[in-house]
Subunit: 303 residues, 2 copies
């Protein structure tokens, strides 16, 4: 293995943590809850319905469907690495995973449930009773459910991506093309917003920094983003910058799922965020770099 | 839910089976073995290394690396739904999963192991001894290892894709754009080869049916495909038609991983297999349809 020394402090992107210190009993309980359809009013929808663990932690539709076939209004983001985002949801209205769990559970277009109903249903299950009592020293409670699901979600880190191995010093972990793509990603300015461990997920930004996003065709410009949360004019069309860690395997793109392909998404980003056009070759090199960001989940691919 | 009646026998694509009758004890043992790095000579590579279950059952590199950082010569295909392929591997040289397991284990560029070594290592583990004895009534043997891993891999069916729900009668399961994409997929002729339950995986075909593939730029035309297996001139550049079930989440593309993007892959297919050029709009509609083929894995997203 050829090695090189990279000073990580000078890079816009940092590797994902290799280990996260978690309570494994809570993680296991959270995994069960994450997959439990009883969290929804009619027992048809679990967290995994819209956050499929086998294909990158999201579903592959424009908008997910909740109970009674209700259509949501934003594209389902990946649950992988979500514990590292500074806020949750596209408009950042949930401060953390603990908060977000409750949002999905009671949202009429997602699980349409109430905590009373859910606690009643889960309490009938002896294995749950035993687990909550042992781990939390309580009956089945809202707080414990939130905590366990959040703990499980925090475990969903995708480690060992080729790019992270490159950052850690393995010169051959990525190809020359991927290295070129990384340089372009930085020089075009993508890494001004998509940066840090999650290559995004750590700031808000306007969709349309250098060109008015309402000029874009095919998008949903009725969605004012963070403005709905703050009522601040400055927050119109402002969204949380999404992580690009799993972007190559989580189409379609943007909060409105309006763009089918990663090419299309990179084109829109470079035009509206950076005010430039990107030649096809540069774009494809950037996509090659993005592919090298995909790591593996240890819990599913366990040792 | 609006319903419609589709006569499945007239469709080129069939839904994936919802249930597969498997021995659950073998599946569990196989899952453990699938993730066990002791199957490789230096205990660094498991099946999951190249077939990551959290991101579509493949890795995201052009060629996977085996022990000692050895670079393989073909792109790692997804393990999801692989039990439904008529043969295994790009050139079909393994007749089934049972056979394929051994190929990877002893291939010097993959696990570089021998059965004797592996059996010796695994036999030291009491939990394995107990499992093999209970399930197979034997010590740890080559045949039982192959059988258990194959049984686990057969469980890796991705069910409930929007497109399958559409085939089963849910008119709203896919969008108008996805329906248009399906029609184009059929009318362009893609479904002549990519057909059946796996939308591929059930025949061999020449890479370059209507245009000589050696005219393509950037590919690896040194790979003669099935010719290496049969030495039959007719088999030059012949490969197993890959399943498109998870194609949107398993870049890069083709046996040689030479194409970075799905757009690029569809362009090459329509040019070299079908002798046409595809307008961008048709291509993106086809890709929207392909996205609707992605289902979920029940074992990971369990009920």
């Amino acid at each position: 293995m050829m090695t090189h020394a990279i000073d990580l402090s000078t890079q816009p992107i940092q590797p994902l943590p290799k280990e996260i210190n978690l309570n494994q009993e809570k993680v296991s309980l959270g995994y069960k809850l994450f997959n439990d359809k009883r969290l929804s009013k009619d027992n048809t929808i679990s967290c995994a319905t819209c956050h499929d663990l086998s294909s990158g932690g999201a579903d592959k539709t424009q908008f997910s469907r909740g109970i009674n076939n209700a259509l949501g209004g934003r594209n389902s983001p990946t649950v992988y690495n979500s514990g590292l985002n500074f806020r949750q949801l596209w408009d950042g209205r949930a401060r953390d995973l603990f908060t977000q769990v409750g949002g999905a559970l009671t949202n009429a277009k997602v699980m349409g449930s109430t905590w009373d109903e859910v606690i009643k249903k889960l309490s009938k299950n002896e294995a749950y009773q035993e687990s909550f009592s042992r781990i939390y020293g309580t009956d089945v409670t809202e707080e414990a459910i939130r905590d366990a699901v959040a703990e499980f979600e925090k475990s969903l880190i995708t480690v060992d991506s080729p790019f992270d191995r490159y950052l850690y010093g393995d010169e051959n972990a990525i190809s020359e093309r991927e290295k070129r793509g990384y340089k372009l990603f930085v020089s075009y300015g993508c890494s001004s917003c998509h940066q840090g461990r999650n290559v995004g997920g750590n700031m808000f930004q306007r969709f349309g920094v250098l060109k008015d996003i309402r000029l874009r065709k095919g998008g949903n410009e009725g969605d004012l983003g963070r403005f709905k949360v703050t009522s601040d004019e400055e927050d119109k069309y402002v969204f949380r910058v999404p992580s690009l860690r799993l972007v190559v395997i989580t189409p379609p793109y943007f909060h409105d799922g309006s763009v089918e392909t990663l090419e299309g998404a990179v084109d829109v980003m470079i035009e509206f965020q950076l005010g430039r056009k990107v030649p096809e070759k540069d774009r494809d090199d950037i996509i090659a770099f993005l592919r090298s960001l995909v790591g593996k989940h240890k819990l599913l691919n366990h040792d």
